[in-house]
């Protein structure tokens, strides 16, 4: 069996990263100028990596699917970014942040990676402040913090409800500076179509110019994938419309392992689904759980009356309200991690206590915060979120509780990477949400921004040199080499095949149907039977897609339907991979909840003896079940415990 080498440096946990940096290989300035790096993606990870590598002197080619790097979906992150600054003097430390993240991830993350993440977290805040990111401040002029789920300290830095936006604009500014200096070449409205390999190494990409529709070839000494997660497989998610998994799937098909695909984060506080015309779900920031209290009616008849529109939330007296998170998890209350909060909402709704006409919603109530703090303070803290909620639902959250329900939000799984963020393909790196490394089976709030920027600013710029140092004698490639020509031909053939189907169904109609299968079988609660059904249904839908999709327009032209079809083809492969992984993992952990494996209280039941590993899926060809490889997780300095948010 193939051995998985995560290349974790030796030494004590707290010294590993320092040791690594002290002994890694470096590239001298003259050689940097001769080395090219392709960075795909311009979100927090991609933009920060491209900017940093450009500053260092590499020649960077940076690809962006939107019309500007400023639009990447990192921009939509609302709540904040974690760091172990301990400004609040509440007992925080690098170790605490590390520990909370490992525990939050249900002991399914790699210890050394997580420690490094916590270690560099403070530098991220320093970096962003230096860039002019306008974080919220206190009257004394120092930085303010708030609390997020899964932590008992206040370590989250924020910029109103727009932290992701401000951090992304910071990275975008740094990137713009490098474009101006000529170290980074920016390609906007381009989408990566394939990875090009030469002699077993990643050496370039085929990308489609989305305006002209033409395929183009790009060569480099290394390729970095920062293309985000696969949440949009489900059709409805909090992801932006262009978020897709195609770049990752192409890498997977070329031999990069895909790790932990079953770990999907379902965010507890999203605006519930309405109607069947909806295109996406909107997240309401986790920060709302700082002051909002989550409840459903304690009496079934009250829940029924609300579902039928005979009663409203305000008709239910306090004593008849079930603040189920506070009841079940007294120590963390409304600030339990996301997976726990989502499952608890599902449990109540499944038992018939859900509100909304669908019965698929719970209340998030600010009445108590308004009584305690006054409407002005609540407005100052969450005003823009309240406004957004009212725009969408036409309900005033100052007067009525919000209605929320869990939705697909983030994917912890991703391309497998070693400690250096290199995939199983030499010269191919993956950063940010696109990789799997730091969040285990569940990500804590405000940690995605931290990881994206950690990878891009403070990890990859070091580790990629260890690879590139061996490449200094390799001259620049021509993109006319046969490997490039061949790869381009294959992509074109795939596009031609899709255009030639001329069936009867739109891409979206198939994607919606596929999304339903995923949500019901590979969603919040999973069973062996459901997963097996999903796998066979996905086979049918794959057939339906490849024989009955209809794409209007031309192949060599701007063609939105063709773009969507190419992405759906890969979402279908991704969905099946998720189902395989979820079926194989016969335990519950973090975002992966197998209904067969739960405690009598309904908590996730892990099986550390048999499943304390990273599942790495190795592609074996079209329509063939991929091979499962295992990277054992070794906890050298962490005591592995059952997660407990009750006491």
């Amino acid at each position: 069996m193939t051995k998985i080498d995560s290349k974790i440096p030796s030494g004590k946990l707290a010294e590993k990263w320092t040791n690594y940096k002290n002994h890694q290989k470096l590239v001298n300035p003259a050689n940097k100028r001769r080395l090219d790096v392709i960075v795909v993606g311009t979100g927090l990870a991609g933009a920060s990596a491209a900017a940093s590598l450009g500053e260092m002197g590499f020649k960077v080619l940076n690809f962006c699917i939107q019309d500007s790097p400023r639009r990447a979906h990192s921009i939509a992150a609302q709540g904040g970014i974690n760091a172990a600054k301990n400004y609040q003097n509440d007992g925080d430390s690098v170790y605490r942040l590390f520990y909370d993240t490992i525990k939050g991830g249900d002991y399914r993350a790699r210890e050394a990676n997580v420690y490094r993440l916590a270690e560099v977290s403070n530098s991220i805040i320093d970096q962003c402040v230096a860039q002019g990111v306008p974080f919220a401040r206190d009257y004394g002029g120092t930085l303010d913090n708030r609390s997020f789920g899964g932590a008992q300290v206040s370590r989250t830095f924020y910029a109103k409800g727009q932290t992701g936006q401000q951090l992304l604009l910071g990275a975008y500014s740094a990137l713009s500076r490098q474009v101006n200096k000529g170290t980074v070449e920016l390609y906007t409205r381009y989408e990566m179509m394939d990875l090009v390999m030469i002699d077993g190494r990643a050496r370039g990409i085929i990308a489609r110019n989305l305006v002209t529709g033409k395929l183009e070839r790009f060569a480099a000494h290394a390729v970095v994938i920062g293309t985000g997660g696969y949440g949009n497989s489900y059709f409805l998610s909090t992801n932006a419309m262009s978020c897709n998994v195609s770049a990752a799937i192409q890498c997977y098909k070329k031999g990069a392992y895909f790790a932990n695909p079953a770990y999907v984060q379902i965010h507890p506080t999203c605006i519930p689904v309405h109607g069947d015309k909806q295109s996406k779900l909107t997240l309401m920031s986790e920060s709302l759980r700082n002051d909002g209290r989550i409840w459903v009616p304690a009496k079934l008849e009250d829940a029924k009356a609300i579902q039928e529109g005979k009663k409203t939330a305000n008709d239910i007296p306090d004593e008849d309200r079930d603040f189920y998170l506070e009841r079940r998890y007294p120590a963390f209350g409304n600030l339990v991690p996301r997976d726990v909060a989502s499952r608890a909402a599902k449990e109540r709704c499944d038992a018939g206590f859900g509100v909304n006409n669908t019965g698929l919603a719970v209340f998030l109530d600010f009445k108590y915060a308004i009584d305690r703090l006054g409407a002005d303070v609540v407005k100052a803290r969450y005003g823009n979120l309240f406004q957004m909620y009212e725009e969408i639902t036409d309900v005033d959250p100052y007067k009525n509780p919000m209605m929320i329900f869990p939705a697909i939000h983030y994917t912890m799984g991703g391309i497998w990477v070693d400690y250096e963020l290199m995939t199983s393909i030499p010269g191919l790196f993956a950063i940010g949400e696109a990789n799997f490394s730091d969040h285990g089976a569940n990500r804590l709030g405000a940690s995605a921004l931290m990881q994206g920027l950690a990878d891009g600013y403070f990890v990859l710029p070091y580790t990629i040199q260890n690879y590139l140092a061996d490449q200094i004698s390799v001259p620049r490639f021509s993109a006319d080499l046969p490997e490039f020509v061949e790869a381009e031909k294959e992509v074109y053939a795939k596009m031609k095949k899709l255009m030639g189907i001329k069936g009867k169904r739109s891409v979206d109609s198939i994607h919606k149907e596929f999304g339903h299968v995923l949500w019901s079988c590979v969603g919040m609660g999973r069973t062996k039977e459901g997963l097996e059904t999903a796998i066979s249904k996905i086979d049918e839908l794959r057939k339906e897609f490849w024989s009955n999709v209809f794409i209007p327009g031309e192949i060599d032209d701007l063609n939105v339907e063709l773009e969507k079809a190419l992405r759906l083809a890969d979402f279908i492969e991704m969905g099946q991979l998720m189902a395989y992984d979820a079926l194989t993992r016969e335990e519950s952990c973090g975002g992966h909840f197998r209904e067969e494996y739960q405690t009598p209280e309904g908590e996730a039941l892990r099986d550390d003896k048999n499943y304390m590993y990273v599942s790495c899926w190795n592609y074996k060809g079209e329509g063939v079940k991929p091979e499962l490889l295992k990277e054992d997780l070794v906890y050298e300095e962490t005591e592995v415990k059952t997660r407990n948010y009750k006491v």
């Binding site: 979906h73 970096q127 402040v129 002019g132 306008p134 919220a136 401040r137 740094a174 932006a240 969408i392």
Partner: protein, 251 residues
């Protein structure tokens, strides 16, 4: 519950930047009021695809009002007549049954049409590249709390930084001026102690690039502020003018 409405959609269709465009009308039936404007266009496109026709091309991405990608000129207003929202956050309940809704792209020399309702806004990137940053490298930086910044200044910088770069200000301006966009970025950075060192250079470089790219002059009509989905204030423009004059005087 929201009611369903039926209406006529008059949409600008244009094959490419040089092609001649024209309005096409589409009857829309029984659209639920809780459908967003872009979801309504999804419904139209689904219909068009099912009829074997090419869908209407429009820019959109996050659909929660923050990425700045959506850019429709609806009934004579960027992002529609409803103030303070982007097109993706505009809901059909705001329109009347039987109405004719006109949808156009941003129309401005600085933003050529790519197709239908999709325009090219790379000019904004170019202005940013000219100076929309603080020149600091990745690496060891000063401890974040070393320089206190008063809450007022931080909040004001945040307000300026709320710009989503959608281009509504340019589309709204009869001169096609990009002053609101440029001034918001210059203000955010010039206001903060970190950004002061380069304040003059930044103001001059960004204004010069804006002029070079063919954006018009500001004549204080305030249309930009009125139509900005994020309510960016024109006091940013005053601030930029001040910084710009100071910079020029120093030359």
């Amino acid at each position: 519950m929201d009611k369903n409405i039926s209406f006529t959609l008059k949409v600008w269709r244009q094959r490419g930047p040089k092609a001649k465009g024209a309005f096409e009308s589409y009857p829309m039936k029984d659209i639920p009021g809780d459908t967003s404007f872009l979801e309504m266009l999804d419904i139209l496109n689904e219909q068009l695809v099912n009829e074997g026709k090419e869908p209407v091309v429009f820019d959109h991405d996050c659909r929660e009002g923050i990425c700045g990608m959506c850019s429709l000129y609806i009934n004579g207003h960027p992002h529609g007549p409803e103030g303070g929202v982007t097109t993706c956050q505009l809901f059909m309940r705001k329109f009347k049954d039987g109405e004719t809704i006109t949808v156009e792209p941003w129309r401005s020399a600085g933003f050529p049409v790519i197709r239908d309702l999709m325009v090219d806004r790379t000019a904004y990137d170019k202005i940013m590249q000219a100076g929309g940053y603080i020149s600091v490298n990745t690496g060891v930086n000063q401890e974040a709390n070393a320089v206190p910044i008063s809450k007022d200044v931080a909040d004001e910088a945040m307000d300026s930084a709320s710009c989503i770069g959608c281009g509504a200000c340019v589309a709204a301006c009869k001169n096609g001026s990009a002053m609101l966009f440029v001034s918001a970025k210059v203000s955010q950075l010039n206001m903060l102690p970190q950004g002061k060192t380069e304040a003059s250079r930044r103001a001059k470089a960004m204004v010069a690039k804006m002029d070079e790219l063919g954006f018009g002059n500001c004549t204080n009509t305030r249309a930009c502020e009125a139509e900005c989905p994020k309510s960016i204030s024109i006091s940013n423009i005053a601030r930029l003018n001040r910084d710009f004059i100071v910079a020029k005087l120093k030359d």
